[in-house]
């Protein structure tokens, strides 16, 4: 059993209330930071821990904090990105629902480190029931002197609010999120300037994922040195993985970084193997935007070693063979999964969610969806397969924000690894009457 830093007390009855959370060591990081540490020391501690952003990009959190501009006379803001919308990813929802005070505690300690007087949790609008849970936790924190004026007599004051979005995946991109928080359409901003210089209301702002902020209390309470002992190499600490798809035990698992992928999929401690006694066909390891990998490549690295659940091992060899740890949205496809249909659903998602600001993304995602639809429904031509790759290439790297890349990568990777399945769909238009018909590599017939 791996160590649990975030979820150790997740099943304690009443842990969502202030009193029970406090009895289990809750808010110790606020006490320690405000009474014994300077803000700079808290930033340094997070830097030393090696914590990397848990929203997907994996950028070192402490370094991001140290970029924050500190102009005189201007407020600074911390905004928690709780707009979890990446297909396959549901870890933040679970964490906020079960342990709302952990996020509140993380927001207070982090806000102190960054010198913020007002902070926001931007939560996706669909999760309104979790907004109520968080608001209740925040009210309890105010009532117990952990929020508001002069927290614990330290002289530090903080207001914390939850802000609901309106249903737009693009608002998970940090500058689109800030636009949305300002009451506008969620169109990503051109960068630079980055939010650390020009963020919310034109003030210096840090935007961090829920899991990143929820990890800060453990680091401050138990020290960065202890945190850095966990994990492998530059992948320190633990990570929440949300496992879904065709497995026996879908759910959210906290793993120590470095667990072998094979163990994660097949052991009873985690996913419990493939459902219905089937074989595994492919895995998307870090949320829908990261490249899909067939069974052999997800279990072994390019060098033939066991692939590990770390930032480095999952991306070894670049996108040709590797994938990414990303957001930890891990979903498994069994041998009955139609890769063409699955890729089409993801292309449809990105087309729907494109904000429309950049032409390559606005038009290109629509092309991808249309071409995939006609292949899936038996109207495709062989040249359509290369057309998919061509369109994906023309989107990638040509947009203001990474949504274009996120739309292009899954399609390009699906064609790269499962080209014969796409060809089979084109060659068997009669199967158009069976959407989702599955290519069986061994029998070359419908499975």
């Amino acid at each position: 059993m791996g160590r649990k830093l975030l979820t150790e007390h997740i099943n304690v009855e009443g842990i969502e209330t202030f009193d029970v959370y406090r009895k289990h060591g809750g808010y110790a990081s606020v006490e320690k930071a405000l009474k014994t540490m300077s803000p700079e020391e808290v930033v340094e501690e997070v830097k030393t821990s090696g914590l990397r952003g848990r929203g997907g990009a994996g950028f070192p959190t402490g370094m991001k904090w140290s970029f924050l501009a500190k102009p005189e006379g201007k407020p600074r803001y911390l905004v928690c990105n709780a707009d979890e919308s990446e297909p396959g990813t549901f870890k933040d929802r679970y964490l906020m629902e079960k342990l709302p005070h952990l996020l509140v505690e993380g927001m207070i300690t982090s806000s102190y480190a960054l010198g913020c007087r007002t902070s926001y949790i931007y939560i996706r609008g669909e999760l309104m029931y979790i907004l109520r849970i968080l608001e209740k936790a925040i009210a309890e924190a105010y009532a117990n002197g952990f929020l508001g004026e002069n927290i614990l007599g330290s002289g530090y004051s903080l207001d914390l609010h939850v802000h609901p979005g309106g249903g737009a995946y693009i608002c998970g991109e940090e500058t689109a999120l800030l636009e949305s928080l300002e009451g506008k359409r969620g169109n990503p901003r051109n960068k630079p300037p980055f939010p650390a210089v020009w963020g919310l209301y034109g003030s210096p702002t840090v935007v961090n994922n829920v899991e990143s902020i929820a990890t800060v209390p453990w680091i401050i309470t138990n020290t960065a040195a202890e945190y850095a002992k966990i994990g492998v190499g530059r992948s320190t600490g633990t990570k929440l993985i949300s496992a879904g798809g065709n497995i026996n035990k879908p759910g959210v698992y906290e793993i120590e970084l470095g667990v072998p992928v094979e163990e994660f999929i097949y052991s009873d401690e985690y996913c419990g193997g493939i459902w219905k006694g089937r074989d595994m066909k492919a895995v998307i390891a870090g949320g829908s935007s990261v490249p899909i990998l067939p069974k052999d490549l997800i279990l072994k690295t390019a060098a033939g070693e066991d692939r590990l659940m770390t930032y480095e091992s999952l991306s070894d060899g670049g996108f040709a063979t590797g994938t990414m740890l990303g957001s930890g949205g891990f979903f498994v496809m069994d041998d009955q999964t139609c890769i063409v249909r699955h890729t089409w659903t993801l292309a449809r998602f990105y087309h729907h969610e494109s904000c429309g600001q950049c032409s390559p993304c606005r038009e290109g995602t629509g092309w991808l969806e249309k071409v995939l639809h006609r292949i899936e429904y038996g109207h495709g031509h062989m040249h359509d397969i290369d057309l998919l790759v061509s369109v994906a290439k023309q989107i990638e790297g040509n947009t203001i924000c990474p949504l274009g890349d996120a739309a292009a990568w899954p399609v390009a990777a699906a064609v790269r690894h499962f080209r014969e399945e796409f060809e089979w769909h084109v060659k068997h238009p009669e199967q158009a009457t069976s959407p989702g018909a599955v290519f069986n590599k061994n029998a070359s017939v419908l499975a």
Binding site: E84, S85, E86, P87, G88, T89, F90, D92, R93, Y120, R124, G125, E126, L127, M128, Y129, R132, E135, K136, H161, H163, P164, G165, G166, G167, A168, Y169, S180, L181, E182, G183, K184, R185, G186, Y201, S242, A243, G244, G245, N246, P250, G251, V252, I284, S288, G329, F331, M333, T337, R341, H342, T345, L346, R348, F349, H352, E353, C355, P435, G436
Partner: protein, 179 residues
């Protein structure tokens, strides 16, 4: 040519106004437009599950901004219904992970059961059927959302039961619930 229909003034209830004021207090005095999304959610709950042009005009008046600033936001975000809907809006997730767990079949079942296609309202006015993209419920699909409630791990039998339960229920506004 049709003449534009005369706009009717709409009014928020005291409960809704209290909720609006609470949200407005979260943002700096000169940044009140930030409250726009929260207020649109309140408007949708207040006025029968959708937001009319009159409701948007009222929101603009409250925030002291131009109506166009409300229209451009309300049309961007998928959660806001800009046409009348049934008593309950069923929002079925259809993205990849839910598809792997059977969302295609669930959507087809609901279309048959309700006698209406996705995007339409059942003849009895009880249900509007919508599909949505990823609701962060990938480990518990197939699923659907009705207002603020998630219904997960659905199959034909549990979906049928849900429809019966919803038909018999009354629709409360969030600020009337005891959270």
């Amino acid at each position: 040519m049709d003449q534009p229909a005369e706009k009717k003034e709409v009014q928020f209830s005291e409960g809704a106004l209290a909720e609006i004021r609470r949200y407005m207090s979260h943002y700096p005095a000169d940044r009140q437009k930030s409250a726009l999304l929260p207020i649109l959610h309140i408007a949708q709950a207040e006025f029968g599950g959708w937001i009319s042009p009159e409701a948007m005009d009222k929101v603009a008046e409250i925030l002291n901004i131009q109506p166009i600033e409300v229209y451009e936001v309300a049309t961007f975000y998928t959660m806001f219904n800009l046409k009348p809907v049934g008593k309950h809006v069923l929002e079925v997730c259809r993205t990849g992970p839910c598809m792997l767990r059977g969302s295609d079949q669930l959507i087809q079942h609901l279309e048959n059961k309700l006698g209406c296609a996705v995007g339409e309202t059942s003849a009895d006015g009880n249900f509007t059927l919508k599909t949505v993209e990823c609701l962060a419920s990938c480990g518990t699909g197939p699923m659907l959302q009705v207002r603020e409630q998630y219904y997960e791990n659905l199959d034909a039998a549990s979906a049928d039961q849900l429809l019966e339960d919803l038909k018999a229920s009354t629709v409360k506004k969030p600020w009337e619930e005891n959270y």
